[in-house]
């Protein structure tokens, strides 16, 4: 009897350590996760959809589907990160609130930061790359479709690994960049930090591969006649973002690997007592961290450019300067990282260098703003939702950029650093620049993805609520930051005089949450009462992706387009309107396509297993994971059956169904 009880006790002990416990919020989350999982399994089984899910989605290498999966995952993460944000704002609404404990607050802001940047912004961006770039280039797919699917699944399982930490093992709480010594074993003895490391590591490999994939796609797979000066501007922005990815992400991988060695093997790269140096971590992580913000904002600039040109019915003003500005930003972003630690004692000369390099970057950004304004000038502007988000972005980004320049003044930064002023600044550029841009992109390409338009009226409601909420939330934060409120505090006293500002800010935060709900409603409503896009070109747009039916057929272009202009599709429409003959299309030929593969999915599960095993130091889980990775690599190397042809008849039928004679 005794023995049994102690086994049960052991199991209980294990469970209470393994599963996070003690907080009603977490139990609520446990129940929610269990119910959702059960519901998903039930629905899939009930409707007999498992085979469909496997064949059409989990094993797909089609860039359009990969893109959609990225977007769905990113929106779910936006929800999760948004709930975290609202929890923090709730905790701060009044002085001395007892909603989140200090420990829990630390976990929430860490998770919020990581999720928003790495698991929301990055995948949403990759989703839009996947949706738009091959189509803009007139290509059939990305350069390496298999790799593309692998990138997605690595991101997905990396994100899952990270997300798991809050119900299993415990969340990281060292801030979104995990500075040592806080993130060393001495500062964070639990497994949260390891979840952080492996979640990011696994998905980071995927990001690096996506960067390579899209660079090769853009360099090698442009349609015939698409010279560099005819490449659509969004694709240019993707190229510059990918350049920044391939120089920045290896630094992140190495930095986190070193941190892992410190934690796992007792190395001393960043621990002082073993001769290491924590400053070196700060230095390295920002070498990735700063370019990262440009990585996510450059594609947004590309989207704004497409949207402004399309909805002003004009060619983009200053195409060349725009391209130059984006490319130079992608390089210069690599020279400014120190502005994130001006206050950490690097001395005046170092600070001056990085202050100046930071201010210089503001110049190409300013150029772009003027280009957008000149594009709109004398244009026939239509105020659709993508255009509204673009218009809202401009003032928002101007203010955010100006406060950024304020922060780049090194001596002044000693005042602003780590205050709510900083929080307000970076949310202004991240929400006003990045999130608004991706929303604009989502609305813009939605018909191309799904074949129907989103409801514009609800979309405009969402737009206004979001925007009002944004200013109500973040403007007070500048004020309270100048008033001395520091970031990452979970409570403050009545005597500080900060409560009115915090109260207002929280209202704004919840308004944005409501805005998000409106967007969800907008999507649900539009799915139900969809307004089908039969033209393939619902906006009267300019670039190649709009020359094919919506949603794009599996093979994208029935015949490879021959490009003769910048904004080729627009010029073609003008020619037809002027009574000229449309461009002659080549004869239909069988189309060469890549075959689906289960390997990316399976291999990513193996990566997940490795990460999970290493988090808990359970080699009996990690080693089989490694073996699985090796086996899948081998299996793929010896698989020669990777492609097939779509016969001409089938192409003809598909095109006819979409209302196109060929």
């Amino acid at each position: 009897m005794r023995g049994e009880a102690s086994v049960i006790d052991q199991i209980k002990d294990f469970a209470s350590w393994f599963f996070v416990s003690g907080d009603p919020l977490i139990y609520g989350a446990d129940v929610a996760i269990a119910l959702t999982t059960a519901a998903i399994i039930f629905v899939l089984s009930y409707f007999g959809k498992w085979g469909w899910l496997w064949r059409e989605w989990l094993t797909t290498v089609d860039h359009k589907r990969v893109g959609i999966m990225y977007i769905i995952a990113a929106l779910l993460m936006l929800f999760r990160g948004g709930v975290d944000a609202l929890m923090m704002r709730t905790q701060l609404v009044f002085p001395d609130m007892k909603f989140l404990s200090p420990e829990h607050y630390n976990e929430v802001f860490t998770t919020h930061g990581v999720i928003m940047i790495l698991f929301m912004a990055m995948p949403l961006m990759f989703g839009l790359f996947n949706i738009a770039v091959p189509l803009q280039l007139g290509a059939r797919d990305v350069a390496f479709p298999f790799l593309n699917s692998l990138s997605f699944w690595l991101f997905f399982f990396g994100a899952m690994l990270f997300n798991m930490s809050f119900v299993i093992g415990g969340s990281p709480n060292g801030g979104w960049l995990s500075y040592p010594p806080l993130s060393e074993l001495t500062g964070s003895p639990g497994v949260g930090e390891d979840f952080y490391i492996w979640g990011i590591q696994v998905s980071g490999i995927g990001s690096l591969m996506t960067g390579i994939n899209f660079i090769v796609t853009i360099v090698k797979m442009r349609a015939p006649g698409m010279t560099w000066s005819r490449v659509p501007i969004f694709t240019w922005s993707v190229l510059s973002s990918c350049i920044a990815i391939i120089v920045a992400f290896p630094v992140l991988t190495v930095t986190l690997a070193l941190l892992f060695l410190d934690r796992f093997l007792g190395a001393h790269f960043f621990t002082m007592d073993g001769g290491g140096n924590a400053m070196m971590y700060v230095n390295l992580i920002w070498m990735w961290g700063h370019p990262e913000v440009y990585i996510v904002v450059l594609p947004a600039f590309g989207i704004y450019s497409e949207v402004v040109a399309t909805f002003s019915k004009k060619r983009l003003f200053g195409y060349g300067s725009m391209v130059f500005a984006m490319l130079s930003i992608s390089i210069m972003a690599y020279f400014t990282w120190l502005h994130h630690f001006f206050t950490m004692g690097s001395g005046a000369n170092v600070n001056i260098f990085f202050a100046i390099s930071t201010m210089i970057i503001a110049i190409p950004t300013g150029v772009k703003i003027f280009n957008w304004l000149f594009t709109m000038f004398r244009g026939r502007i239509s105020f659709t939702t993508p255009m509204m988000w673009t218009l809202a972005f401009i003032p928002c980004f101007v203010v955010g950029g100006m406060t950024g320049v304020m922060l780049s003044v090194a001596p002044a930064d000693f005042q602003f650093h780590n205050s709510y002023f900083l929080i307000a600044h970076f949310h202004q550029v991240l929400i006003g620049g990045v999130a608004f841009g991706y929303f604009a992109g989502l609305y813009y390409w939605w018909p191309k993805m799904f074949g129907f338009k989103l409801n514009e009226t609800i979309g405009k409601w969402a737009f206004w609520i979001w925007n009002i909420g944004f200013y109500v939330c973040f403007m007070p934060q500048y004020v309270v930051g100048l008033d001395g409120m520091t970031r990452r505090i979970n409570s403050y006293g009545w005597d500080t005089g900060w409560w009115a500002m915090n109260f207002t800010s929280t209202i704004g935060g919840f308004l944005m949450g409501i805005g998000f709900l409106f967007q969800v409603w907008q999507i649900a409503h539009s799915i139900k009462f969809m307004e089908k896009d039969t033209t393939g070109d619902p906006w009267g747009a300019r670039t190649l992706e709009w020359s094919i039916p919506s949603p794009a057929p599996l093979y994208n272009f029935a015949t490879t387009p021959l490009v003769t202009d910048r904004d080729d599709w627009w010029e073609e429409k003008e020619r037809i309107a002027a009574g000229k003959m449309p461009k002659e299309k080549p004869k239909l030929e069988p189309i060469h396509m890549p075959k689906n593969s289960p390997i990316p999915f399976i291999q990513s599960i193996c990566w997940f297993t490795v990460g999970f095993g290493l988090v808990f130091h359970w080699l009996w889980i990690a080693i089989p994971g490694f073996v699985g990775i090796a086996l899948t690599l081998l299996a793929h190397s010896f698989n020669y059956d990777t492609d097939y042809y779509i016969p001409v008849d089938e192409i003809r039928q598909t095109e006819a169904k979409a209302g196109r004679g060929v």
């Binding site: 797919d141 090698k220 442009r222 015939p224 010279t227 230095n283 690599y334 001395g347 170092v350 060469h592």
Partner: protein, 113 residues
Amino acid sequence: MAQNHTIGGHGSHGGHGEHHGSLGEYVIGFILSIVLTVIPILAVVDDWFGKTATIAVLLITAALQFAVQLLFFMHLREEKGPRYNLVTLILGLIVVVVVVYGSIWIMDHNKMY
């Protein structure tokens, strides 16, 4: 100029006449890279030289390692289209210099440590 194979660029191996190195070259590259890894490890673990000399050895073997990788595995000399190669190589070098020299510069001035 821009090109777009009907095949869409995937799975088209062989047939474009590029030279990808012989087995011998790979073996030499492999051995060289191992030697260049073992030397710095031993230099640190067994304390062969003084501090400054060890750092110099580390830097030199690292640079040689870099060259070995580029020449024997990335086939730097053999690709067509030198322009892209040159641009990417220069970019890569800029990045390396920024990372290495920038870090040294910053850490040297850091008074906290």
